[in-house]
């Protein structure tokens, strides 16, 4: 008896409350968040989508841009030179590439920092002796490590490319803010416009325009952020096909087995 009394009133009240709540909440939830940085236009990357794969010549050109320009401030501290074999270099080439870098090698007898040529098992570490030096050299900001930048940067490769090519031609440092760039967080970045026409010379004689450099270095950084992505997708296709085949066999077996069972 009691239950029957409770039931309609409960549902009526509950339903009414829900309806009222939904009406009140509707407008509140639908409101967009605060003004975000400008959305970067979508680019047609070689590695885009579940079946994309890295354009390795572009990755290698991107390394040239990184080594020639970005590396003067940014590090790839989780990456070692030997990892670069996966972008299509031989071990000898990696050794030669490493030898063009200088890395810290402890202190000498007078307590001064020593340097030596890098070896394949060295990391692509920062060119500064520490975060304090980096901060002092860059107006109070430490240039971020780029090991996972495409993964952690909101907007990923598209936004990185847009940032690199998004400076006004006459960009000047605004004191206390940095350089205007509509794709940066807060529309200002501490990074001066990094790319200039012809700042690097590509081995394959592709003209090094700013757009080309930005495309290549973004592809390189995307590869550095997910170095095994191509293998991962190949494994996925192989394993997927194998599992499909096995599943079909088991569907047949299962149907034959259960066909003898009357419901």
């Amino acid at each position: 008896m009691i239950v029957q009394k409770i039931r309609p009133t409960f549902w009526l009240r509950g339903g009414g409350m829900l309806l009222l709540g939904a009406m009140m909440l509707g407008a509140d939830i639908a409101q967009p968040a605060q003004a975000q940085p400008v959305k970067a236009p979508e680019q047609n990357w070689s590695f885009k989508g579940p079946l994309g794969h890295f354009d390795l010549p572009s990755v290698q050109r991107g390394y040239a841009v990184f080594a020639g320009i970005c590396a003067s401030c940014h590090s790839l501290s989780e990456v070692r030179f030997s990892d670069l074999t996966d972008m299509g270099l031989t071990l000898e080439e990696v050794g030669a590439v490493a030898a063009t870098w200088q890395v810290a090698d402890g202190l000498d007898a007078e307590g001064r920092l020593k340097h030596r040529n890098a070896r394949p098992d060295d990391a692509l570490s920062s060119s500064y002796s520490g975060p304090e030096a980096a901060r002092a050299a860059n107006g109070g900001v430490v240039p971020p490590d780029l090991s996972r930048i495409v993964q952690v940067y909101p907007g990923g490769a598209d936004r990185l490319f847009a940032l690199l090519t998004g400076y006004k031609p006459d960009a000047v440092r605004v004191p206390g803010k940095g350089f205007a760039n509509s794709f940066a967080i807060g529309h200002y970045t501490a990074m001066p416009p990094p790319l200039r026409e012809g700042a690097v010379k590509y081995a394959d004689n592709i003209p090094a325009t700013v757009t080309q450099q930005a495309r290549d270095v973004t592809t390189f950084l995307a590869w550095v952020s997910a170095p095994h992505q191509d293998t991962r997708r190949r494994v996925g296709i192989g394993a997927g096909l194998y599992l499909c085949f096995l599943a079909v066999l088991f569907v047949i077996l299962n149907r034959r087995l259960w066909s003898h069972v009357r419901k």
Partner: protein
């Protein structure tokens, strides 16, 4: 019954010479194999209700993922360093340089999400088909125990890579523990091993993660053994005597393998093509105690409880509501004292509707957690908490009463 007793009786005589020794070892090995074979035959012949549907294959999926988690986890441990200054780098080295390390870590990460997803599905199966009714209360209770252990293990594992979310997740969890009256401060100290997360926390989390993995395996064996002892539940409305039964092998083993294969296809798809579904980008930034991320968010499987923690204004009551959401599952066999699944179509529809409302409430609470319980989400989250608890504390007991009237 088994020849092992005979071997024992002759032990003294047999140990006399080395030759005899090998003979005895052989015999013992033989008897062990016989015993294992007897077990396998016994389990193979186990009669199961012929009307089990595909929801009853999730257990097999869970076992498959658990084995994968154990194997990948053991190999990952070999290359992991539990130290605040080295942990992030060691995980990066696993991903970048350890042979197939990226694959092992991808399997372990995807496995965690798939295990929790399958576990929630297994739980919902139990709630909908009322598999907790007597005589299977012990099965339900051991399952709830497993759920709690798996959640603790998943949390401890998420701290280990020492990215930003690992660090700040540990920080938030520690503060939540600290909100417990009287003992909270002490518990927080024990949990962190200091004032803030650091190397001692990593040692604690690695030990907990590693230890609980084996406790879970032990409890899974108990869970399965209890199912075998009590007999399997069934979606059928018929009384147990009138049901048809089929042996576990080959009918249900084949179906279980097929279900595991289908799940593996989904697993491979997520792991290889859409890993973004289960990875949190912020956790690829190394832990930085000086920089609090704008959005501290747990993995998706904790979001409902995280949301409940946030929508309650008081820290302590938030903890109680959020912890109680799991604890109330233990009480389900006593809240719902019915006898079997509902007979009429209408009642089953009501059951399904109520369960859907409960799931919807959990999803809403999760969404409120994602949106920091701000503005309308605060009210929506609070309503979700109410609906969630109404299902357990009002709907389940009431359902029993209705049934009492019908009978």
């Amino acid at each position: 019954m088994y020849p092992i007793s005979g071997v024992r009786g002759e032990k003294g005589k047999m140990a006399a010479t080395p030759a005899r020794h090998t003979e005895q070892a052989e015999k013992e090995a033989h008897s062990f194999l016989q015993q294992a074979g007897a077990y396998a035959r016994h389990y193979g012949r186990l009669p199961l209700p012929a009307d089990l549907n595909w929801w009853w294959t999730i257990g097999a999926m869970l076992v498959a993922v658990l084995v994968l988690m154990l194997l990948s986890g053991l190999t990952l441990t070999l290359a992991y360093t539990p130290d605040a200054s080295l942990a992030f780098g060691s995980v990066e080295a696993i991903e970048r340089r350890m042979p197939s390390g990226w694959l092992l870590r991808a399997m372990h990460m995807t496995g965690a999400s798939f295990f929790m997803a399958a576990l929630y599905a297994h739980l919902l199966r139990g709630l909908y088909y009322r598999t907790y009714l007597p005589p299977r209360r012990s099965v339900w209770l051991s399952g709830c125990g497993l759920l709690v252990l798996v959640m603790v293990t998943a949390f401890a594992g998420y701290v280990l890579p020492w990215g930003q979310m690992s660090y700040w997740g540990a920080d938030v969890a520690a503060k939540a523990v600290g909100a417990v009256p009287f003992v909270g401060q002490g518990l927080e100290q024990v949990f962190l091993g200091g004032e803030s997360p650091g190397t001692p926390t990593l040692h604690r989390m690695l030990t907990l993660h590693f230890l609980l993995a084996f406790v879970i395996i032990g409890l899974v064996l108990v869970h399965v053994a209890v199912v075998h002892a009590k007999g399997s539940s069934s979606p059928s409305v018929q009384p147990e005597i009138r049901r048809k039964y089929l042996p576990f092998y080959p009918y249900f083993t084949t179906r279980d393998i097929l279900a595991v294969l289908v799940m593996s296809l989904g697993f491979v798809a997520v792991m290889c093509f859409w890993p973004g579904l289960i990875t949190e980008p912020a956790n690829y930034r190394p832990a930085n105690p000086l920089h609090t991320p704008a959005d501290i968010e747990p993995e998706w499987y904790f979001l409902p409880f995280y949301g409940m923690l946030q929508v309650v204004p008081s820290k302590f009551w938030g903890l109680l509501v959020s912890g109680g959401a799991v604890a109330v599952l233990f009480a389900v066999p006593w809240l719902d004292k019915g006898r079997r699944i509902a007979n009429s179509g209408l009642a089953r529809l009501a059951d399904a509707g109520a369960l859907l409302a409960c799931v919807g409430a959990a999803v809403t609470a999760a969404a409120a957690g994602v949106h920091h319980a701000q503005g309308g989400w605060l009210l929506a989250g609070q309503a979700a908490c109410l609906v969630y608890y109404l299902y357990f504390l009002v709907f389940l007991p009431l359902r029993t009463r209705f049934e009492g009237k019908e009978a």
